[in-house]
């Protein structure tokens, strides 16, 4: 089968995890792995896997724009500001994994199709990817939700320097996304880092403040979402049946990582790389089908 070429900006843990997932894909291939330091751990890893690497960062793509059609940006929010302009000019389908919020906010299961028509999509935050599918689905079937809150606990070890430096943006961005995808104005996001050893799995609790909820429908919907998400996030799991207590519905989700480049406790990183690769595959499939139509 024909494969669509992708480039990865950023050679840290996220970049390497993306690379491993792309290598498993039937319709994607990594044709350019871009960073700044040929001696970095990630660069060496890519090189050992016979991937075309460059230490010229985005300039590598400016010099050879035909090298790929899709670009993942796994650098930082501030770097993405510069990258976004360049990638727009180069007309690349851009999947932004930083919390820059420049492009269209994307949760594949919720608005993936719509995001195929945009040029730059933003993967929000790990807490967003873990909770928005349920928040969106339940807000569609349950009326009069007054308030939604999520609390995401992640292992300290899986929160890199970027996450730590940007915890303020993380909190604010997740909250904004919760409101956008639920049409509930009053929302809140909480993030907690836990340093326990062995590291904890990513744990998310979602609360809905609502009177007289239709629990049967909520439970059914929650498990449907779980089944759909498992198709692209294998470690996604509802750990307790949704309950109603003291006026609010509680849903608890655990995300175990796939264990590709990153350890299994890094469900928070895995969920965002899984979602990003899912979008790249959807885009690639559309492109392959379009080309086929043209050829016929």
């Amino acid at each position: 089968m024909k494969k669509i070429k992708v480039g990865i900006l950023g050679t840290g843990n996220i970049g390497c995890d993306l690379l491993m997932k792309i290598q498993k894909s039937d319709i994607l291939e990594c044709s350019l792995f871009m960073g700044r330091n040929l001696d970095s751990k990630g660069m060496k890893f890519a090189s050992e896997n016979n991937i075309n690497i460059s230490d010229k960062s985005i300039n590598a793509l400016i010099e050879n724009p035909e090298l790929c059609d899709i670009v993942f940006d796994a650098t930082t929010a501030s770097a993405h500001k510069t990258h976004a302009e360049i990638l727009k000019t180069l007309d690349k389908y851009t999947i932004d994994l930083t919390p820059s919020l420049i492009g269209q906010m994307c949760v594949p299961m919720v608005n993936g199709e719509e995001c195929l028509n945009k040029k730059n999509i933003n993967m929000i935050t790990c807490g967003g990817q873990a909770t928005i599918p349920i928040v969106n689905a339940i807000s569609k079937i349950q009326e009069n939700i007054k308030y939604i809150e999520i609390a995401a606990s992640i292992a300290s070890k899986s929160a890199g320097p970027g996450t730590r430096a940007n915890i303020d943006e993380f909190t604010q961005t997740t909250k904004t996304a919760l409101s956008v995808f639920s049409n509930v104005a009053n929302t809140k996001a909480i993030i907690i880092l836990n340093p326990a050893e062995p590291p904890i799995m990513m744990h998310n609790t979602i609360y809905f403040l609502v009177d007289n909820p239709n629990m049967d429908k909520i439970i059914q919907t929650t498990y449907e979402v779980e089944a759909n998400l498992k198709k692209y996030i294998p470690g996604y799991k509802i750990i307790h049946k949704p309950t109603y207590q003291n006026g609010y519905v509680v849903v608890m989700v655990q995300v175990e990582g796939s264990g590709d480049y990153l350890p299994k406790y890094s469900g928070n990183l895995d969920i965002i790389t899984c979602a990003s690769v899912k979008m790249a595959e959807m885009y690639a499939l559309k492109r392959i089908n379009n080309e086929r139509c043209i050829n016929i």
């Binding site: 915890i167 880092l193 744990h203």
Partner: protein, 347 residues
């Protein structure tokens, strides 16, 4: 001893004891009464700090801004302070409004091993020349050496001082001394200690901290606070005055506030019950107590088992959803085999 400052957390930590239902009249009365006692700052807001009003922790009766405005209007001599944990509050939603309310002292806190999440906030405040302190919560959960590493980060971000919180009331005398002495020796920060009384050590631990070089006593009147409460300010100050220190504090004034507002108006009954002791020896955040009681009732299990299990999981401040998670698991286990959990706990 001359430079020791008193940070009064009563209108913040005490909010836990009231399940965050602290009302504006109380804040106003409290601040007016204590204003001439010689306290350095009164910290006001939700029990877990600004932006923490939530289902996860407890919804507050009044917004942080309402509470801060009320306090500001009632304080003339004493600085108004806030506490905030990044991940709950943000610069945009919470710090900027607090600055607008005229807050003078800013305490930014996080779990004791995660100081780098406070970089953005401490730097933001320091750049505005705001008096800022870094706070490390649950300081029993890391070795002194690690606490020092985190303190040095806080120093590099521009904070004026550091406050170690013994959030579970789990530190013993030697633990307090080891931590404070090391910080005193290796940092230039003004050091504070915030005790909890789960094991009855809040006052003696505070005195030990002072002996090792701490210069901020962070406590509450009548010890009003989460779990067993905090270092009781009027008692620790009575001791210090007996030793000939801290004469600038008006002890009768402090006692009057404790009697009139905390004991009479709020009907606070101080004490260490069995659940709070278990919290202390399990090393679990004191603020979990009320929620543990509530959830234990819903799932018909022994609240002490919840504390023991939370301790095993090494939960940190803010992870209140784990109480429900643990309770559901315990309830399921209990259904399967009524005796198995007890036996497992004994092994």
């Amino acid at each position: 001893m001359k430079d020791v400052l008193i940070f009064d957390a009563t209108m913040r930590d005490g909010s836990h004891a009231l399940k965050h239902q602290l009302n504006l009249d109380t804040i106003s009365k409290y601040c007016k009464m204590i204003d001439k006692a010689g306290i350095y700052t009164v910290i006001v807001g939700h029990g877990n700090g600004l932006g923490a009003s939530s289902i996860q922790i407890g919804l507050a009766k009044h917004s942080d801004v309402e509470m801060l405005q009320t306090a500001k209007n009632s304080l003339k001599n004493t600085k108004l302070g806030i506490y905030m944990i990044p991940g709950f509050g943000t610069i945009k939603d919470n710090l900027i409004p607090a600055i607008d309310c005229g807050v003078d002292v800013f305490k930014i806190g996080c779990h004791c091993t995660e100081a780098d999440v406070m970089k953005e906030h401490i730097e933001y405040l320091s750049n505005l020349s705001k008096e800022t302190y870094g706070v490390l919560m649950c300081s029993h959960m890391a070795e002194p050496k690690r606490i020092l590493e985190e303190a040095l980060k806080i120093q590099s971000y521009g904070a004026k001082g550091i406050i170690l919180m013994d959030s579970a009331g789990a530190l013993l005398d030697e633990d307090v001394r080891a931590r404070i002495s090391l910080l005193k020796e290796k940092t230039n920060l003004k050091i504070g200690f915030h005790a909890h009384n789960n094991l009855g050590l809040a006052i003696s631990n505070t005195l030990s901290a002072l002996e090792c070089g701490a210069e901020i006593i962070d406590g509450t009147t009548m010890g009003f606070g989460a779990g067993a409460g905090n270092c009781q300010l009027e008692v620790v100050l009575a001791i210090l005055q007996k030793k000939g220190f801290m004469k600038q504090i008006n002890l009768y004034n402090l006692m009057d506030v404790a009697d009139e507002v905390i004991a009479k108006d709020l009907e606070y009954k101080k004490g260490i019950n069995s659940l709070i002791t278990i919290g202390g020896i399990s090393g679990v955040f004191s603020a979990f107590t009320e929620k543990v009681k509530n959830v234990a009732q819903i799932y018909k299990i022994d609240p002490r088992d919840i504390f023991v299990e939370l301790g095993k999981r090494k939960v940190v401040g803010g992870q209140e959803d784990m109480i429900i998670d643990v309770a559901m698991n315990l309830a399921q286990k209990k259904k399967k085999d009524a005796t198995s959990y007890m036996i497992e706990s004994l092994l």
